[in-house]
Amino acid sequence: MKARVIVTLKNGVLDPQGKAIEGALKSFGLEGVDSVRQGKVFDIEVETSDKARAEDLIKQACEKLLANTVVENFKIEVLG
């Protein structure tokens, strides 16, 4: 099975990289960009074909390593 993990910064955590990207986009004259927050995407393949087991495994991976929950949130999408 394939799954995608999306890690994003929690609200209120300063994101200087996102700010720099936001500034660059605005400097191109792109109208209507309000703000940018940068995150990470992980595409993971797992052996199991059981959706619940895949979710459980990937949740452990997120909590153990992929996200630091002091400042980051994670979202798991099992793609099948």
Binding site: L14, P16, K64, V71
Partner: protein
């Protein structure tokens, strides 16, 4: 005092910190990240600076979960000392030895320069050879040294006197020279039992007058005296 300096893939300051410890009188042994046990008789574990695992994922994240870190956590739980400098501070936070973590510098740039620090408390094993409020001059070299924790933890750190060093100017003013945006100009913090110190600046660079000064030596002399 026996210090075990741990090397991870990408660590590059293990030689400098070993030298600083030896100059202060410590017996230094080297340990490897894939080991399961610390060397016999270790009093102090040192997590040196560098770029463990190329700073992949988050600085210190992968090293913080290396085999040897289980032994380091057990060592600290038993009252052993640990010192994390620069990438070692990031590793200590990721390993759960210290609260909070280090984010990208607020100014986005890698900052490499001399920097004054204010020594906050001198009642710990790491700072007994300094005087309270003393301003020392060491160096900093990091891109991700912006100390972040939640409001509650910040209150706890301040309330329990667990801020070890703050960035300041030559006169000791902590509102003037914050190089990375750290909360309350924090440059280093202690664990709850004050046996772990994590700091971004490099005291190990300032141990000889010939190469810039000796303001860093006090930290190593304090440790040798304590253990």
């Amino acid at each position: 005092m026996r210090a075990a300096v741990i090397t991870f893939p990408g660590t590059n300051r293990e030689g400098d910190i070993a030298k600083a410890l030896r100059v202060a009188g410590a017996d230094v042994v080297h340990a490897w990240h894939a080991d399961y046990d610390l060397p016999q008789g270790t009093d102090l574990v040192v997590l040196p600076g560098g770029f463990s695992y190329g700073d992949y994922l988050r600085c210190g994240a992968i090293a913080g979960r290396a085999h040897i870190m289980d032994a380091v956590r057990a060592h600290v739980a038993k009252g052993g000392y640990a010192l994390g400098i620069c990438n070692g501070f990031q590793i200590a936070c990721e390993a759960g030895l210290l609260p909070g973590l280090l984010m990208r510098n607020a100014g986005l740039k890698f900052v490499c320069r001399m920097q004054h620090l204010k020594v906050e408390g001198v009642d710990t094993a790491f700072t007994s050879q300094y005087s309270a409020g003393q301003v020392i001059k060491v160096c900093i070299a990091h891109g991700e040294g912006n100390y972040v924790c939640d409001d509650e933890m910040l209150k706890t750190l301040e309330g329990e006197g667990r801020v070890a060093f703050r960035y300041c100017d030559a006169a000791g003013d902590i509102t003037k020279e914050n190089p990375n945006g750290s909360r309350n100009a924090i440059a280093g913090i202690y664990s709850e039992n004050r046996r772990v110190l994590g700091m971004m600046p490099h005291p190990e660079n300032l141990i000889e007058g010939l190469v810039g000064g000796t303001d860093g030596l006090g930290l190593f002399e304090s440790l040798v005296k304590a253990a």
